[in-house]
Symmetry: none
Subunit: 401 residues, 2 copies
């Protein structure tokens, strides 16, 4: 039986509340062997109290040794096998600018580039043009009309943009037109299969008009198309878990990922305080809340150990406000590790905490990597975190008699 | 997505070096409950130092409770699911005598046997004839000519031999001709499927000529055919990991297993010292080194606890020479456990150590079973050891954006 067939079959209604607080990239590494990680360095009295009354473990986002991007990382937390569902780069980029993708949409990441007089690429990033310029050029491209197709153009930043073609019958599997090197012309759009043939025509027409429009805009006098993709077909959260789920995320990318599994995306404001207020205001409207905290990842990516520690302490300070709502199941985890030492996402297992009245408490009294290694959940694949959440919420029937 | 499709997709080049030191059958058992295992009894200052700066765990070769032979044990370490790829007994036997099997070869384990006057088997092992006799009889069998087929005969030891038929279009799925009991005639070769029909004819011809040749050689006046098999189709190491891999193994079987996944088999000499010298001499030629140490298994099989302890100490003494090469990722593990107490391979999880600059150090300061149980890698399937190696070497891209 498929995992989600099981969850469909076993789910039952009750009035419990589950909060999944995702501290992006929370897992880390000590700067020197045997030292403390960011999480272990941080002063976290509230998380430690939760750890004491909860149970800890280490979740593996994809497989041992595999470092996930944000897409696979979150799919895992939502209980979807990240190797079964693939989120294309264009889709992720569109989600990242809050574009509401539909099932007929083909999403594409665009890069402005520089063409020389022979039409060959001289700079694949158009001299990293300023945001204002990129934004204006996107407005110009947004005037492109293609019969039978809705065309959307959104600026992302600098030389990066998102293009969406909306029409029934457009396949998503197109090769990149970026040749990945300079001194050659951009590639022509090529379909990977029959369904993508109509998309080739649309892309050709788009590029042909774009060439005219951008002709005087050197160094951004053309663009390449990358990561062409449609939304993956993912069963909805409500269907597989029977949960009314609300997402409270400040950054567009994470709102988009929540939308991908059909969570309601709530207005999260700009700060963790705003997010807590939203949680309070929406408490009666949902069974499950996905709350996303970005800054443990971004400080890790910056390689700033101390800043990551501070962000973890900031997160810790928000815990009492969340716990005041008295969630039946409180989860604290991350979508992956982002050790400041590596300045990047990593494959290391992710510290995870579940607190409920029926969790099997372990001996752990602090929330940290070494502590989680001794925790009651052991090592487990992230895709099973949701079934643990459901179980702790009493939202699963017994399997079999 | 299949595991190796993932590794194909994510692999990236860099100039790191990985050493996987496989101490065959290293895992053990205490002689009395609560006592120390062989590894825990051994004095291993160098392995303990590695354990302190590395991360430990216990690997499961196949599945919990499943005791692997050398074939599945090593396939797991190489990152291939041992339940997906099956190495036939004939193939393993051929690899064990350093026979270089090709894709058109059908490999067979032969047993000399004794036939009585009615042609019934009176001894399935031909009175365990001496090696010299077995060897001479193999020379006689090697004169067999079959039109259109190259025939190879190699002595293994005592009554055991290997036969290889080489010709295009020979299927490998033949039933054993050994009836597994005495007092009955050997069975006729029978094909399990259509592709093996031509092989039946070849086997019949071989056995018919062998009967003539051996007629006066009682107690070894005939032979049975067992474990008929072709090489499994296994994607190459280089393809799935992008690694130039060299195998440094003294025993033919392990050279053969390395050859099965297309590692280069290097001249390893006869001793651990020789192996270290080979490692030093070939250091610049490869990205990955599989170094095999046999004697922790053979002493375990002998039931000689103390001898196994000594062999572990011998291995420990070689560590500084390997570490002087400064590998980016150093792995110490085994293909399975071989507790002296059981005098056999066992299913018990295998002590495993990974040391790199980006491993998440744990609290362990010794290398042993109890210590590994507290280690940062937890329990993990051996087939993921290679993805952990690749990750620690920085040789994987992020999965998804």
């Amino acid at each position: 039986m498929e995992f989600h067939d099981l969850t469909r079959k076993l789910q039952r209604e009750n009035d419990t509340k589950i909060v999944m607080l995702v501290s992006d990239g929370i897992g880390g590494l000590p700067l020197t062997p045997g030292g403390k990680t960011e999480l272990e360095t941080a002063n976290t009295p509230n998380l430690d109290a939760l750890a004491t009354r909860g149970t800890l473990g280490l979740s593996t986002p994809v497989l041992p040794g595999i470092t996930p991007g944000s897409g696979p990382g979150h799919l895992g937390l939502y209980g979807y096998d990240p190797l079964q569902y693939n989120i294309g780069r264009g889709v992720l980029e569109a989600l990242g600018v809050d574009f509401e993708l539909g099932p007929d949409d083909v999403a594409i990441r665009g890069n402005f580039c520089s063409l020389d007089e022979q039409g060959k690429i001289s700079d694949r990033r158009a001299g990293r043009i300023a945001c204002e310029i990129g934004s204006k050029l996107c407005d110009k491209l947004a005037t492109i009309k293609i019969p039978g197709v809705e065309v959307f153009v959104r600026h992302v930043k600098e030389y990066r943009l998102v293009i969406v073609f909306r029409a029934a019958g457009l396949g998503g599997d197109l090769e990149d037109t970026d040749p990945q090197r300079t001194g050659v012309a951009p590639l022509e759009p090529v379909a990977m299969n029959e369904q993508a043939q109509p998309t080739v025509k649309v892309a050709q027409e788009f590029l042909s008009q774009a060439r005219e429009i951008l002709i005087d805009d050197y160094p951004a006098n053309f663009l390449t198309l990358r990561g062409v993709a449609k939304m993956p077909e993912i069963p909805t959260y409500n269907e597989v878990y029977g949960l009314r789920a609300g997402a409270v995320a400040v950054y567009p990318m994470y709102r988009g990922l929540a939308r991908l599994v059909s969570m309601d995306v709530l207005d999260a404001g700009q700060t963790l305080d705003d997010q807590c207020s939203r949680l309070e205001a929406s408490w009666n409207d949902y069974d499950f809340f996905f709350v996303h905290f970005k800054y443990t990842d971004s400080t890790g990516e910056d390689g700033n150990f101390d800043a990551k520690v501070k962000r973890i302490e900031e997160l810790d300070a928000a815990i009492p406000r969340i716990m005041a709502l008295n969630p039946d199941v409180m989860i604290v985890t991350g979508d992956h590790s982002t050790p400041a030492k590596m300045k990047s996402h990593s494959w290391h297992p992710v510290p995870t905490l579940i607190a409920s009245d029926v969790c099997r408490t372990d001996a752990c009294t602090t929330f940290g990597e070494a502590s989680c290694l001794q925790g009651g959940l052991g090592h487990f694949p992230a895709k099973y975190l949701m079934s643990l959440a459901m179980a702790n919420a009493g939202r699963f029937e017994k399997y079999g008699a």
